[in-house]
């Protein structure tokens, strides 16, 4: 192998099975004696349960068992834990109300699970679930976070009578206030970062089974981190030893964060399988996905930026109220704090930043990480402020950015992070050229002749990926380590199986990771298989989220490869009768330096497993190594996006006519896959900006946007083809120089789109437009502006 596989557009190894219908997702797993579960869910946003009658359901055809919260309590099934402890402004721990797997006396959102029915078929389970009679005492509900903390608001949990989980802050408030007092100009915006429903196209699913012979459980589940799922479920909920539980996350049809978490259904089917001695499978219907998958975003924010007379940022002040929903989901508490406030420096040298976050319980689905998780919210705050500040100060929006860019690395921000490397000017310059910003004025003029409004908007985002140095995360409240594990198993004939704790649910790890290993060992990618998603095969893993797989999981694999090569050198030295120090290695060839003696990787592998001529006094046979890698810092992908929109003022319809993204992801292993990740992320971000908005009825707490007809995830004709490019500053602290690319698009796009829309409407006096900027919303903004002008 001569050409490097790093940077090569290798077609995906996983595609053949997906294209021929041979993929195996959780719902495709049908076990012997399979039974099916259906959940009885609360139709009310807030109610006490007076009684539950299950007799009719139990007698229905095919029913094997019906269980309620009482059964779960009798079985001592614990509540679902939260994985991140936030300490509030007074040094007190956040309020952690119980999160039962089946409701205990009270329901707190529409969709809250009350009982489960297990039957021979899915249809019978659903029919019988209709026969469970639950008598509710309906209570007043509150769905809006700001209203939930007002006096007299209905309280969800005894432990938090004011519905406040915590008030948390980062930064020196007094110093920031002083900077604002001296500022030449202050830009202030108040907005909502709209609530989103994740909607992976594969609905959540779980299939639990108990094996009497092994006295152990197997859970197939649509999940992004099977070891974390197992740890949470065994240690915190079911009180089982981990070695008795196998969790398999087979092919998973998209996650976007929503499949990180331990959900009640996962526990219930696993527990029920033992009660019944049958495997129990549950697959969400789409309406259940809408109701019960952890939602994302939902911030109400007041944001201010203080500038000196030249537009140099001197201080930033942010107050956010974050809606956590009815219960604390697995990483809910970290998203609006650690993953949000720490990103508020953006690409800029803002010296003083203060951020205060009030996190609130409401009668809505739990809110947790969704593609970007905190970082899209932070980027929206920074980039909407920056663009608005430029317009108010009559500076070019790119010029104000240039005046404030971080240019010297490493750079310590005012909000705890240390950026290792970057070149923000380079991505901005490339984006301006690619988007033909120079020609915009002409295009705007031409559009105006057709009665259309054109706008141009920018976003210069940064994100912290490669989550995370465990010690840092631990000091900030994480209750888990955030390393990754990898194992290289070399087979006697020289082919390789790699086991990784990362999990692919669309990201193409089976190809990207194979490229990394094949390149290093001088193999073809066909001779390297990647195994993931099964706790019985993979030694350990923290899973995939926060764009961490290549940076953390990939590095663990690199470390294991180092060990393989080290051992290989020892074997090679023995075989070639040389000293180990004289053996050089490059891409599958062990050479004695200064001679023509060499051994191929395959020969070394064979010698390790057929050790007839082998240094038995110094080495064990076999060639199999594993490694754990805990990163020393986060990685910091960054980039510049330019969005050009055309608005029809008569209808408010916004069309994205051009979207340019120039990203710096450090080194890129497979550009084809990276581009695909950016396309998907951008579309997610454009969805947030233009089409997606979760709505609950403010009085009844019913989810109004509970189907694809009411909640619009982007269709193919809602988005443009994208113009992409990359610039490269390799990450300084991992051997591949990689940063991660899975979330960037979703982080940068909303601000770019909204900056473009507000650019188009600025001259009419429109300063801000809420997301999603649907035709109606934009039309209203135009109407209100013309009324004011009149």
């Amino acid at each position: 192998m001569s050409a490097s596989l790093i940077g090569a557009r290798v077609q995906r190894k996983e595609d053949y099975r997906f294209l021929t219908g041979a993929g195996q997702y959780t719902d495709d797993v049908i076990l012997p004696h399979q039974s099916y579960a259906a959940f009885v869910r609360s139709p009310h946003a807030h109610a006490t349960i007076k009684s539950i009658k299950t007799d009719k359901a139990k007698k229905a055809p095919g029913v094997l068992g019906v269980y309620t919260g009482e059964d779960a309590a009798a079985a001592k099934l614990g509540g679902l834990p939260c994985g991140w402890l936030i300490t509030d402004v007074n040094g007190q721990p956040m309020k952690e109300p119980p999160h039962p797997v089946l409701a205990q006396g009270k329901v707190r959102y529409v969709g809250d699970q009350v009982a489960v029915v297990v039957a021979e078929t899915a249809e019978q389970a659903r029919d019988a679930a209709e026969l469970v009679e639950v008598n509710y005492d309906v209570l007043p509900a509150v769905v809006d976070a700001a209203k939930a903390t007002q006096k007299g608001a209905p309280a969800l949990h005894e432990i938090a009578p004011d519905n406040t989980c915590y008030v948390w802050a980062l930064g020196d408030k007094a110093a920031v206030d002083a900077a604002f007092a001296k500022a030449a100009h202050v830009t202030k915006l108040e907005f909502v970062n709209n609530r989103l429903i994740p909607n992976a196209i594969e609905p959540r699913a779980a299939n639990g089974s108990y094996n009497r012979a092994e006295d152990g459980y197997t859970l197939y589940v649509a999940n992004q981190n099977p070891h974390v799922e197992r740890l949470l479920m065994t240690a915190f909920v079911m009180g089982l030893p981990e070695h008795k539980v196998r969790v398999v996350a087979p092919d998973v049809g998209g996650g976007f964060g929503s499949k990180i978490f331990l959900y009640p259904e996962d526990v219930v089917v696993t527990w029920a399988s033992r009660q019944l001695g049958r495997p129990v499978k549950w697959t969400a219907e789409r309406s259940e996905s809408f109701l019960t998958d952890a939602h994302g975003r939902d911030h109400h924010t007041i944001a201010e930026m203080a500038m000196d007379k030249d537009g140099k940022f001197v201080g930033m002040r942010v107050h956010t109220t974050a809606n956590l929903g009815a219960y604390l989901s697995t990483f809910a508490s970290a998203v609006p704090t650690i993953l949000y406030a720490t990103l508020l420096s953006g690409q800029y040298t803002t010296p003083l930043i203060y951020c205060e976050v009030k996190a609130v319980f409401t009668n809505t689905a739990p809110v947790d990480a969704l593609r970007g998780a905190g970082r899209p919210e932070a980027t929206y705050v920074v980039e909407r402020l920056v663009e608005t500040a430029a317009r108010e100060m009559k500076l070019d929006p790119t010029e104000i950015r240039r005046r404030n860019f971080v240019r010297q690395f490493p750079y310590q921000t005012a909000v705890a992070l240390q950026y290792d490397t970057g070149n923000y000017e380079a991505t901005l310059d490339a984006a301006l050229k690619m988007a033909d910003v120079a020609g915009f004025a002409k295009r705007k003029e031409e559009a105006a002749k057709r009665g259309k409004l054109r706008g141009l908007g920018y976003a210069a985002y940064i994100e912290a990926c490669g989550i995370a140095p465990s010690a840092v995360a631990g000091s900030l409240g994480a209750r888990a380590g955030l390393f990754e594990a990898g194992e290289i198993r070399v087979h006697p004939t020289g082919s390789v199986t790699v086991f990784t704790g990362s999990h692919s649910h669309g990201q193409g790890h089976e190809t990207t990771f194979a490229q990394v290993v094949a390149d290093r060992l001088g193999l073809s990618v066909e001779n390297v298989d990647i195994v993931h998603g099964d706790t019985s095969k993979v030694l350990f893993g923290m899973g995939t989220y926060g764009s961490r797989s290549i940076a953390v999981g990939g590095t663990a694999i690199m470390k294991a490869l180092d060990k393989i090569i080290d051992k290989g050198k020892k074997i090679a030295a023995h075989l070639m009768e040389a000293s180990e120090g004289d053996v050089e290695y490059d891409k599958g060839i062990f050479k004695v330096s200064g001679t023509d003696k060499q051994k191929a990787f395959g020969e070394i592998a064979f010698a390790a497993y057929v050790p007839h001529n082998y240094p038995h006094d110094k080495l064990e046979p076999g060639l199999n190594e594993n490694a754990f890698y805990d990163p020393s810092n986060f990685t910091f992908p960054a980039g510049s996006y330019v969005c050009e929109v055309e608005i029809d003022p008569d209808t408010g319809q916004t069309k994205i006519v051009n979207f340019t993204a120039v990203d710096d992801f450090g080194k890129i292993i497979n550009p084809m896959i990276v581009e695909g990740q950016v396309h998907g992320g951008l579309t997610h971000g454009i969805g947030q900006a233009l089409t997606e908005g979760c709505r609950y009825d403010p009085d009844s707490g019913q989810l109004v946007t509970g189907s694809f007809t009411d909640y619009c995830i982007p269709r193919a004709d809602d988005v443009p083809s994208y113009q992409l490019d990359t610039r490269e500053t390799p990450c300084t602290h991992n051997p591949l120089g990689v940063k991660g690319c899975g979330e960037a698009g979703a982080i940068g796009a909303p601000a770019a789109v909204m900056n473009a829309i507000t650019d188009a409407l600025w001259s009419m006096g429109v300063k801000d437009v809420p997301m999603p900027a649907t035709a109606q919303t934009v039309w209203k903004a135009i109407q209100n502006a013309s009324k004011k002008a009149a």
Partner: protein, 159 residues
Amino acid sequence: MSVKVSMKVNGKAVSGEVEERTLLVTFIRELLRLTGTHVGCDTAQCGACTVSMNGAAVKSCSMLAMQAEGADITTIEGVAAADGTLHPMQAAFKEHHGLQCGFCTPGMVMNAIDFAKKHPGASEHEVREALEGNLCRCTGYHNIVKAIMAGSKAMAGAK
């Protein structure tokens, strides 16, 4: 109330006892164990359940198995050649990275083949409109559109 249904699936005659309410997708997935056809929304919105029935793309989650009595059905498992060679549309999806998690992919491919047969040489705009009934959350459609245009061309060339 069980009824017997018979149809041809991927060239083979099949039959089975189903309830009157059994959906075609349930028949295909649970009885025939052809799990390449997926259920993403139960409401004919997402298109993951798309199969070909008598030569036209249909959403198998929104019709009864009984309605397919006597029909000629092709699922994603029946699209590649008998020796495993990918259909030109499948090959185009692979070449242009038109899939990520793979869950919407079978429906996308089934719809794309039907569309390409009926509208050879369609423009990007027409392809995007044709995808109105197929949702993807991973790819942003960019590469799916490219794949369908290339696959369409390859299908026309293969005739």
